[in-house]
Each structure stands twice: as C-alpha cells, then as structure tokens.
C-alpha cells in the first residue's frame, strides 16, 4: 500500500513507518523513518536534485544505494560535530539530523558553474594544462578562481568534541562482508570452532539479500535464511560480529584495518560522552575470507546524469529494503538477466515498468514471466538520450543494430520498422553487469583478472591462499546466488582444512529458486551525440577518455590521471570498469590488455580521528617526568621538552620573565647555592671483566687508568668520527662502571652500545642495564653547596682533600642511601646526589629545607646552559649537529689516539676532508656592546657587507647574557677559528638583517684555571 506518493509499505521493508523522524536537508524540513538512510528519505520526499557537478555545475541526483554513490555528498551536522563529504546513501537517519548540500552556489536550483557549463566544450580533460598561462603574472588570480570553485564539504573550524580509539584483534578467520556468502562462510568457520570475526559495513547484516527478499534459499525466504544464520552466529562464543564496520585496508601478512561507527547513527540525545565516535580495529587474521560482493555497473548513455537515472540495484534496494518508489514509471535498461527480478518486484509493487534489453535474444523464461505481467520489452535497444534537465521526463531509445527498411521491402514484406522510440518515464535504471569489489584483495599487491564469462575484473576463489587470503561470492565473479553459495561452502572448507579444522554437520541446503541466466552482452556505453558521463563525481565524459588517448595518454594510469577518472571520493566504484572498457575501445586493445589502475586504501574514506585513535592531546606521545616533578609544579616551573622528558626550564618567582629568573638562578649558583634536577640524564650500569676495554672502544678518550672511586668525562663518536654523545662515567670497581649520557641520547646510546656488543664484540664480557629511571639526581651547585650537603650527610668526609673533584662516594643523605659524585657542569663546587628515585622527591625537599637559610635556589635547564657556557662546556645537539668532530670542538684532549684498539670513529678522523686543519672550529665570541646578546643561529661573516651572496664562516651555537660577568657571551663555529682566537680583527654576526661586530676569543669565559671548583 502507498503511505504517500512514493513511500510503500510492504512486509520486507526494513524501514519502521511507525517511527517517523524529523530531519532537514539544505535548510528544508522533511520526515523520514527509522531505518532510512538520508538518501532513501530524500527520495521518498521526492527530492531529486541533491548536488551540482564538480566541473560543469550540472544538476545531479542519487545514482547508487551505498558506498558507490558518486554524486550526493552532504555536510552532516554543525559546529564541532560537522562532518563534510558523507555520502547521503550511507548516512543513517536519526531524529533531528541536519544535512547540508556540499555543491551548488548560490543554490542547488541555480549553480553559477552551470553557466560555465554551457562552455563545457572548451573545458575538456586537462584543459588547464593548456591555458591560464598568459600573462604569467595572472596565474595566481586564475588559480584563486580555480580553487574557489573546487571542493565539496567544508572542514570543521573548531576542535573535534568526540573521541576515537584503536583495538587490536588476532583471529583464526576474518570474514569481510556479511552478505549471503560472508554469512555462510562465517557460519561454517564458526561451526569448526575457529575464532571468527565477521565484519559488515552496513547497519545490519545481509547485504543484497535485504534488497531481494523474494528469492529463497533452502526453501526459506532470503530474509528468513539470513535471520537463522545470524541467530546461529550470535550463539557461538568463538564468533564476533561487527556491523557498521568497514574493512578499509588490507596490509602485509593479513593485517586488516577496519573502522567501526559507534555513534554517528544516534540522535545527539542518545550519544554518550564516554563512548567513542569511531573505533579503528586492527585485525591480524591467519585466514582472511573476502566476501566483499560487487557493485552494479551502470551503462553509459547520453545525458545519463539527469537526476532520476540510477542503477537497477539501487532502484531495487530503495524499493524493497526502504520501501521507496523512486518514480511511478520506471524505464529499465539492461545487458544481463540481473535486472529482471527487479522488474518483477517493481511491477508487483504497482510501479509501471518498461524494459529495454540491449540483447536481441533474451532469456525465454524471463520473457514469459514479464509477458504474464504485461510488461513491454524492447530487445536490442539502448538509451541514446535521457530527456529532462533537473529530473527525468523520458528517454529516447534507439535500436543498436538498426533494421534497414529497404531490406524488408526487398523481401516483399512490410514490417513495422522501429529504430527510435521516445518513452515517457520519471525514473531510469540501468545495469551493465556487476563489478566485483576487489579493492581489499589488491591493497597488498594482488591484481584482479578479467573474466570474459563474468564480463568483470574478478579474483579467483582461492585468491592468494599462500598468503591466507580466500575469496567467496560475487567478488569471484560468480554472480548466481546458489552457485555462489555452493562455491562458498567449498572454498570455506578448503580454508578450514588448511587451518587443520573442519566444519561439522555441513548439511546446509543452498538451493534457490533462481531462473538460470542466459549470457550477458559485453556493452559499456551506448552511442550518442550527447554528453555521456563515465565518472559523475569528476565530470569525466566518454569524450574526455577518447581525448586523453588521442593525446597519447595510453597507459590506464595516465588516462586516470589526465581525466581524473576514479579519483573521486567514490574511488570510481561505478566508473572505473566502464572507463577501462571505453579506453580499451579507443586504444583498439582488449580490456585485459589495458588492465586496471592500482587499488589503494582506503576502500571508503576514514576519518583522521579514527586513524589517530588515542594518540591525541595528552596521550599523543609519552611525556616523561622525574621523581621530583611534584616539587617543580609547586614552584611553578616553566618546562622545556628534551626528548620525551619534561624538564624545568626556569622557575619564575613573582612575575619574573625568563631573563630575570635566569639571572637570579645563575647568581645563586655562582655566589651561594642552587640546585638542578639532573635525574633525566641517561644512566647505564655496565659490569664485567672487560668494561674498561669496552669503554676504550666506545669512547674517544682512555679508560684504562681510571681508579675506583673516580669519575671521568667521556666523549662518544659515531663511526664517521662525529660527536654523538657525552657524559661522566664513574668507576665503581674495576669491573663495574656507571655511565651517564645526555638526556635526549640515552635510549640511542644504550641501543648503540648493545648493537656493537652483540654484533661485533660478543667476546667482551660486559652486561649493560639502563638505570636511568632508578636514580633520582639532585645537582647541588655553588660555593655553599658543601655547607648544605654537610647538614644532611654525616657519613662522607666532605673535606676538600678527602672528597676531591671528580670523586664519588657512597653514603647517606637525609638518611637515604646515596651515591654522591663531586662533579660539576657549572665550574662551581658541586655535588650530584643520586638516590633511589622513590626517595627522590623527599631528598629534594630535604635539600631545599636544609639550604633554605642559605637561600638555596632551584634552577632549570636555561640556567644550566648559561653556567656551562660561561665555562665553555658543550651541549651535544646544540654545539654539535652530526658534522662536528672532537677536534672541531677543540677537544683533542678527549681523543686517545694512542689506544691500542681503533675506537669507534677514530679512522674517520683521518679522512682527507675530516683531517683538514681549517675546518669550522668552536670558539668564544664577544660583542663590543656587553648588553647585546647575539641570536643563537646567527651566521658569522667576514665583513659588515650583507649583500648576497655572502660567504659564511660559521654560526653562533650558544649565546646568553651572563649576569655573573655582567655581559653577553657566546660560542660558535668559525672556519679555522682556533688560530684566529684573540687576534684583533673582528668578524661579524648576522641575524635579523643586521651584522654586528664580534671578537673571536677563548670559549672559557669564567675561571679558566678551574680554581672555583677546586675548593
């Protein structure tokens, strides 16, 4: 019965007409029902024009029923939830849904582009390569116009308010597609006891069965059969089913990415804040069964883009599944038997149907059934032209192989010769056969093959069994339901036995009531002098493909790229094969000779949010914290990220800016006492009888003589001789050393050491274990540091001579076992106090309290940098950039050229270029104006002349204001700099467009003789 003009109630409809839903499209309110898609609801409301075409602004309507839809891209929702470019055919309707158009300006009824459209003859494929060239300076303006015309939906402009995540699965069998074949495969696999995952991208399983309820399987109606299989699958604990879940990528070794839509189908009121919007499943399956089905291929004919022209499968789906008649008089054009059941269903539903079949001889069984229903069939006819502009009003049929009247007369008969007929109708559907959904199969390198029997690119049933990929159903080119199911059972059994399983009690009755099909005709487009579109979304017409070939774009990849065929968001699901066939014709080649373009993920578009999953905002990447973090927060530290670590940068006090804070911190370290959290430095515990030899090989300096209780600075080179890391290493015993590394380099260094040990020197008896996280380290710095430490440490003799510079001692600090190293990165008297990190915060607090009366000052990395720069100490990664040797750094003292083993990087130091004496070398730099602080990264040049090109001598690596010296200081690299130190002719530092005179000096600005730390 009719509910309204186009909405039909019948028992198979999946739409619940007792549950009306209000929604708006392009600003107008409409009513649909629970179970509708936006497309079915709009069609039921007799909305025909839903989009305007990309290039010519032609009116466009619904062509497909699912992911193949090329035209009707919509903007769903508003504000933070607005989503561009969804296909109206895939949007599930919910109460209050707000949908907008994504094309047509100023409106759908009038699109400015359609004016240009009248000049479409001057805009063939690739026309822009040939023009917009003159005058050259106008190109930016031309481009601006091209850009304004481009694009469908609009991006959100506020951050996404919903969340996403990933979930990882491992299964014996993954079945992709919940149509007839997929359901059967999952059922058999489930019965075998294998762990099975079944995915389907729609809101309910069943696939095309939901559109053909009148066929029967094993005596049951298609729907009953589907229900019974799903019921069984749900009862099996080893089977999991996912709906609204699209497998969009198949990667090496059967890793499938699938995105599950969890909330988009719900009204806002029903969406949960704690639930994800989408979830990406990563499924690693031993066996993959692709039951991805096929999309129906439309035939290409004149004006085939008028709204109201669609595929037969879409027409059937809207009619049977959604209870929507897309018109009252349907003209159906087909090249195969697939369309006939649709004709019968529509006719039975009270729709007037006219059928044109391009074949001269059609299947007698079907002919009989249609005659019984009184349906006119035009055999040997095609559509040469669709009539109507914003909606189909009719079509012109023409005989494909016209009868010649003279012939007839010569034979003495006067048959009524019909070569042209005009038909009035309000909807047109065509079928050129099926195109298997081979996308996933091809993602990891598979290729489909052309089948003359199926007239399609297909994949063989045992797809790539060596890779564990099996294919069942329409994707294999078996289009008959019974044949497909029988082959599915067979293939699934093979798959299961290769898993060492088999499916018990297989008595599944798969007989159907199909009429045995007669052969389809290989035809892709009907001759016409009107525009005939192959790819609707990119406005690619038959003539564009012919032009591309004429211009020598003969590879199918060239044709695709030149015409944009299949480049749209539908990825050419309807258009590709027609395009290949039309190209083949133009090239005078066979379709298999032309082949296909490469299918790449994503099968259908997937949101960036789903790809990112949980890796956004605070969980984007790890932040590492030291044990003292809570104390730093209390002191309102500003942070610097170093590697993954959050390190205090400086500690601003009552509104200080960084410079004020850093000056205060520096002076405290030089004149009183200050404290740095040094916990983040990498620490590697190394033990074994060959530790010294090992260190001799991985460090450039020598380690044979270092006595227990002593520490030494070490410099580490890569094999190319370039500095890669540095740090202080302590000798605990002759067979036990504790190495420290830079904060950022820790992981690399441990990996580097392990790699050399495991691959080159397994004979060396050493073991290495990272203890970076175990030790919390407070660096107590300044002339008064001993005084503070003494308050908390009674069991170490801290006197100058008992506990010398570069010594370490074990003892207790604040009652906590501690390893204290008297080392200094500031040049001051300093102690590094290392404790079990569980005590880190406590000891830090105790030190602060103990130092309170001496105004102990915690400081961050910025002050650390200033203090070390005043001493001319380098920071790996700031003074070095992977192109710097120890000699460039004037650190020859840290290179033990006499060590017996050729340490890592040694040989490279003597390469002809590396050995040059006039390389860029590290020096100190002073400006004339003591208050002027050079820019780090300023380039050093010979004169004040900055007219390019200017020869560069090097650059400033470090530059600070030294509160202690009351002037600015800097370090940098200068060609042959070491020789040029302290000669009077200044060089210049260039930054901010200005050149400033600087003197080259020693890079040690404070206490060259080291008196300050020797107290």
């Amino acid at each position: 019965m009719r509910i309204n003009n186009l909405r039909i109630e019948h028992k198979h409809s999946r739409v619940d007409t007792t549950k009306p839903l209000n929604f708006t499209f392009d600003g107008k309110p409409y009513i649909g029902y629970q179970g509708d898609t936006l497309a079915s609801a709009l069609l039921a409301n007799n909305v025909k024009v839903m989009a305007r075409s990309f290039k010519y602004g032609r009116p466009r309507g619904i062509v497909g029923a699912w992911a193949e839809e090329p035209n009707c891209l919509v903007q769903i929702d508003v504000g933070a939830k607005t989503t561009p470019d969804l296909k109206a055919t895939q949007v599930e309707l919910y109460e209050g849904l707000v949908a907008g158009r994504t094309s047509g300006w100023p409106s759908l009824t009038f699109d400015l582009k359609s004016v240009g459209g009248h000049f479409s003859r001057f805009m063939p494929a690739g026309f822009y390569y040939k023009t917009f060239k003159w005058p050259a300076k106008f190109w930016p303006m031309y481009e601006h116009i091209i850009r304004q015309a481009a694009g469908y939906g609009t991006s959100p402009i506020v951050a996404d308010s919903e969340t996403y995540d990933h979930k990882h699965h491992h299964a014996d069998v993954l079945v992709v597609g919940g149509g007839a074949a997929g359901l059967l495969a999952a059922q058999l696999a489930g019965r075998s006891g294998a762990s099975v995952i079944l995915l389907d991208d729609q809101s309910e399983m069943g696939g095309y069965l939901l559109s053909t309820p009148n066929t029967t399987i094993g005596g049951k109606s298609a729907i009953e059969w589907r229900d019974s299989v799903i019921a069984e699958l749900k009862s099996l604990p080893n089977v999991s089913l996912f709906t609204r879940t699209t497998a969009f990528g198949l990667h090496d070794m059967n890793m499938i990415q699938a995105v599950e839509l969890l909330q988009d189908h719900l009204p806002h009121s029903a969406r949960q804040a704690k639930q994800r919007r989408e979830r990406m499943h990563r499924i690693r399956a031993t066996k993959v069964v692709l039951a991805t089905g096929a999309f129906e291929r439309p035939l290409v004919f004149g004006n085939n883009d008028v709204p109201g022209v669609m595929t037969v499968s879409a027409l059937t789906t809207y009619f049977n599944r959604y209870g929507v008649a897309c018109g009252n008089h349907a003209l159906i054009l087909t090249s195969n038997d697939g369309a006939y059941q649709a004709v019968v269903d529509l006719a039975a539903g009270g729709i007037k149907v006219t059928l044109a079949d391009v074949r001269d001889n059609i299947n007698p069984a079907w002919e009989a059934r249609l005659e019984a229903l009184g349906i006119t069939i035009y055999t040997g006819f095609g559509i040469s032209e669709v009539l109507g502009s914003t909606a189909v009003t009719g079509a012109r049929l023409s005989k494909l192989n016209p009868n010649d009247p003279k012939e007839a007369i010569a034979q003495g008969v006067k048959p009524r010769v019909i070569n042209q007929i005009a038909i009035e109708c309000d909807v047109i559907a065509s079928s050129g056969g099926l195109s298997p959904t081979v996308h996933l199969f091809c993602h990891d390198g598979g290729r489909p093959t052309w089948s003359d029997e199926s007239l399609a690119f297909v994949v063989s049933a045992n797809g790539r069994t060596n890779a564990g990929i099996y294919c069942v159903g329409a994707v294999t080119g078996v289009f008959g339901l019974q044949a497909g199911l029988e082959k599915t059972a067979e293939t699934t059994q093979e798959m299961l036995s290769s898993l060492g399983k088999n499916s018990k009690n297989q008595a599944v009755n798969l007989t159907t009531d199909e009429i045995a099909p007669s052969p389809a005709q290989a035809i892709f487009h009907i001759p016409t002098d009107k525009k005939a579109f192959v790819d609707f979304q990119n406005d690619v017409a038959v003539t564009d493909i012919q032009l591309a070939v004429r211009e020598n774009f003969k590879s199918i990849e060239h044709i695709k790229r030149y015409t944009a065929l299949g480049f749209g968001t539908d990825q050419g699901k309807l258009s590709n094969v027609n395009g290949f066939a039309i190209a083949a014709e133009a090239l005078g080649k066979s379709i298999p000779e032309v082949g296909t373009t490469t299918y790449r993920p994503a099968y259908t578009p997937v949101s960036f949010g789903a790809l990112a999953g949980a890796h956004v905002r605070e969980t984007f990447e790890p932040r590492r914290y030291s044990a003292m973090q809570s104390a730093h927060e209390k002191r309102n530290a500003e942070y610097e990220t170093v590697g993954n670590w959050m390190r205090p940068w400086y500690f601003p006090k009552n509104g200080e800016d960084m410079h004020a804070a850093v000056n205060r911190e520096c002076l405290a370290a030089r004149n009183g006492v200050a404290m740095l959290d040094a916990s983040t430095l990498g620490k590697i515990d190394i033990q074994g009888k060959d530790v010294r030899e090992f260190l001799n090989r991985v460090y450039s300096n020598a380690w044979s003589q270092l006595a227990p209780g002593k520490c030494r600075y070490g410099l580490m080179l890569n094999e190319a001789g370039m500095v890669m890391d540095d740090g202080v290493t302590a000798c605990i015993t002759d067979t036990h050393f504790l190495m420290t590394t830079t904060t950022g380099g820790a992981a690399n260094v441990l990996n580097w050491l392990e790699k050399w040990h495991q691959t080159e020197w397994p004979e060396l008896e050493v073991y290495m274990t990272s203890v970076t996280d175990h030790w919390a380290t407070a660096a107590l710095v300044g002339p008064k540091s001993r005084e503070v430490l003494a308050k908390l440490c009674s069991d170490i003799d801290l006197s100058k001579d008992a506990f010398k510079f570069m010594d370490w001692r074990d003892g207790t600090v604040a009652g906590v076992p501690a390893r204290v190293c008297r080392i200094s990165f500031s040049g001051e008297l300093a102690y590094e106090i290392n404790v079990d990190a569980s005590y880190g915060n406590y000891v830090w607090q105790e030190l602060l309290s103990a130092g309170a009366e001496l105004d102990i000052t915690p400081y961050g990395t910025e002050t650390m940098h200033v203090l070390r720069a005043e001493k001319g100490f380098i920071i790996v990664g700031q003074e070095t950039d992977g192109s710097v040797t120890p000699l460039d750094l004037d650190m020859a003292w840290a290179v033990g050229m006499k060590k017996p083993y050729s340490f890592l990087g040694k040989r490279s130091l003597t390469r002809s270029d590396t050995a040059r004496s006039d390389r860029k070398q590290l020096v100190g730099l002073l400006t004339d104006d003591p208050t002027f602080v050079l820019k780090e990264g300023a380039q050093l040049i010979n004169s004040a002349n900055i007219t390019p090109p200017v020869h560069m001598l090097g650059h400033v690596t470090s530059s600070y204001y030294s509160a202690f010296l009351g002037r600015s200081i800097a370090m940098g690299f200068v060609i042959d700099g070491i020789k040029r130190r302290d000669n009077d002719n200044a060089i210049f530092a260039y930054a901010d467009g200005k050149a400033v005179a600087v003197k080259i000096v020693s890079s040690v600005f404070v206490d060259a003789e080291g008196a300050r730390h020797n107290v």
């Binding site: 050259a136 959100p156 984007f620 300023a938």
Partner: protein, 417 residues
Amino acid sequence: MKKDYSIWTLLSQGLKNHVGWQPTWRSPELKSSYDVVIIGAGGHGLATAYYLAKEHGVKNIAVLEKGFLGGGNTARNTTIVRSNYLWDEAAMLYEHSLKLWEGLTEDINYNVMFSQRGVFNLGHTLQDMRDIERRVNANNLNGIDALALNAQDVKDRIPMINISKNTRFPIMGASYQPRAGVARHDAVAWGFARAASNYGVDIIENCEVTAMDIENGQMRGLQTNKGFIKTARVGCVTAGHSSVIAKMAGIKMPIESHPLQAFVSESLKPILDTVVMSNAVHGYVSQSDKGELVIGAGIDHYTSYTQRGSPHIIEHTAAAIIELFPMFSRVRMNRQWGGIVDTTPDACPIISKTKVAGLYFNCGWGTGGFKATPGSGNVFAHTIAHDAPHPLNAAFSLDRFHTGHLIDEHGAAGVAH
C-alpha cells in the same frame, strides 16, 4: 615543432570537438643507437633530456622508462617546492631549481600550476628554533627569501593552527619561505615530456634496461627488453631503483630505498592556503587545487621496493596533523599510497660521474626530489654534456663519501621533504 598550447588553440579545438589535438609526446620506435640515453622517464630524467637538447644541442637522445612516464615518485610525492636549505651547496642547488620553477610554465609551454603559496617549517623545541634561526640567516645571506617567525606570527598567517602551549609539541615558531609552494606533479612530467619530444627526444615507455655493456671502463651500450642500444653516454635517474641499476655496472651506492607514504583527504572547500611542515611530529600538509588536503608522512625504517609501507606510519601522521590542526579530526582520508625514496647518509643527492666513463648518476634525492626537478635536470644535463659537473653539483659527487666531505642536511632539515 607543433602548435603551442594557448587559450586560442583551446577555443578553436573546442569548436572542432578537440579532434585536432596532437599527441602530447611522440612514441617513436626505439633506434639502435643514441648519443645519450637517460634511464628513467620521471620528472628528473625528462628534464635532463629536455635541457640536454635545448641548452647543449645534443641531437640524438632517448629516455627509457620501464613503466609509464612520470609513474614513479613524480606521481607519488606531495609536490612541495622550496629552497630554504641550510648548507650553501644544497641551498644553491635548490634555489637554482626554484628560479627555473618560476619560469617553467612559459618555458615548456605547459601549465605546471606552480603555486607560490609559501612554506612553513615549524619549530617545536628550543633547538628547533636555533636551527631555524641558523637556516633563515644562512638563506638570507645566500639571497634566498626566508623569515623566522614566532608562534603568534604563525597563528596570524594560519588561523587554523593550534599554538597552545599544552600540546606535546607546542609550536614555538617557524621558518617561512614566501616563494616556496606546490606544483601539479603529473603536469611536470607531461610538460617536460612534451617539450623534450618537441626537441626530438625519443621517449620509450615500457622499455626496461636489463644489462649494461661496459668495456674496459667505458660505457658501450644498454641491453633492454626491446633490444640492444649502442650509446657511449648513459644518465641514470631511477630514484628508488638506483642501487639496482648501479649493480649492473658494478658500482656501489650509499643508498637505501625506503617506503615513503602519503595520503589525501576528501575534497574540501578552501581551508589552508599555504604549506605546513613539521619534522618533530612527522607530518606536512597543503591543500590541492582540487580541494584535497595532501599529507605526507615520515619514512618507514625498513627498506622496500613495494611502494607500500606500514599503516602505523600513516596513523601517526594523522595524529600529527590533528595535533597541529585539531579541527581536521573529522576530515576523512580518501586515498593513501607509497613511493620508494632513495635516501643517502647526509640527506643530500648524488649528481655525479662514476668510475665508468660515460655513466652518470643522478639519485639520492630521498624525500625531497620533486622540488629539485628542473634544477636537477639542468645541472645533470650539463654534467653529461661536458663530462664534468656543473659548479652547482660539483659538491654532490660520489667521492664525498670517501673524503668525508658530507653535506649534512640532517642537522637542520631533518626529513628533507
């Protein structure tokens, strides 16, 4: 030489239903001998042939392509063009290329849609900012346009970008090159093919080199699946496959071939009118003339010739883009793909003679080759024509890996997209 492309030819052809258009390039039969053979009909190879014919008067040139022309990295990159490199040698080479880009459409009479929309290289740490300052100053002194911007400057120019301090990689600033931009990658190959073909260059597609005929250190000819070619000079421009070709000549290469992945979103109304790159988060993004966001990822660490990489790389890049532009979270990836990039130890190319006389290599462009297309072809043509490097590529010889004179762009450029 055939008719130029122009609005007039377009109109007149429009009236004739475009039946009069000639092939964009000729597809002649392979001849038995050539003066110079270029292996690889990508952008660089075709540009090389074009400049050999145009600037060096070489008459008898073939470009051999084992697949379809422009089907390699030319067709797979994210089309970024810039010249703001740190080291003089690299900066001068890329700037030479950028200058050629600026006149390319007119020069080859083919609209390559070079769009100088500017490129931002973001800085996320203090060291990033030092490196940016260093690079920008070096660029200025080399006569290359470049600005150092702070976070607010970046926000003013890119209103959509997230400069909040609370992100894992807060944006502290950027270097900005106004003259940089993007171009239509396929058009570059087709345009050079057409221009070279007009000069008489034979472009032979589906022609695979299977062996080299080298006699006491001198190139004699090439064995191909279409027969033997006699030639004394061969230029190899085969990007990811360079090691494979070099092996035919017994030459070792300091090259590893890695997958480099990229993806595009669905087509959107104009939202981003410039190019944003970030090495720290491993992502870079621009919007194409069609409206797609074109997004590049970092490389996969393993070597591969499959033109596909691992999905977690793409997933990370999507996350990185959301970190920079949180509103893109609901935008959808339409299509992803991979190329094979030929990486070198110093992230700089090799444009060099070899120990085989008459055999030249142009490779090692890694992730940054597209921007160099015209410049690379231009200096390589010079190198082949004179059997000696052009001043601009002298530093990019193979022997730098023996002397140690590397041009280490890793320090400042990181992934040199």
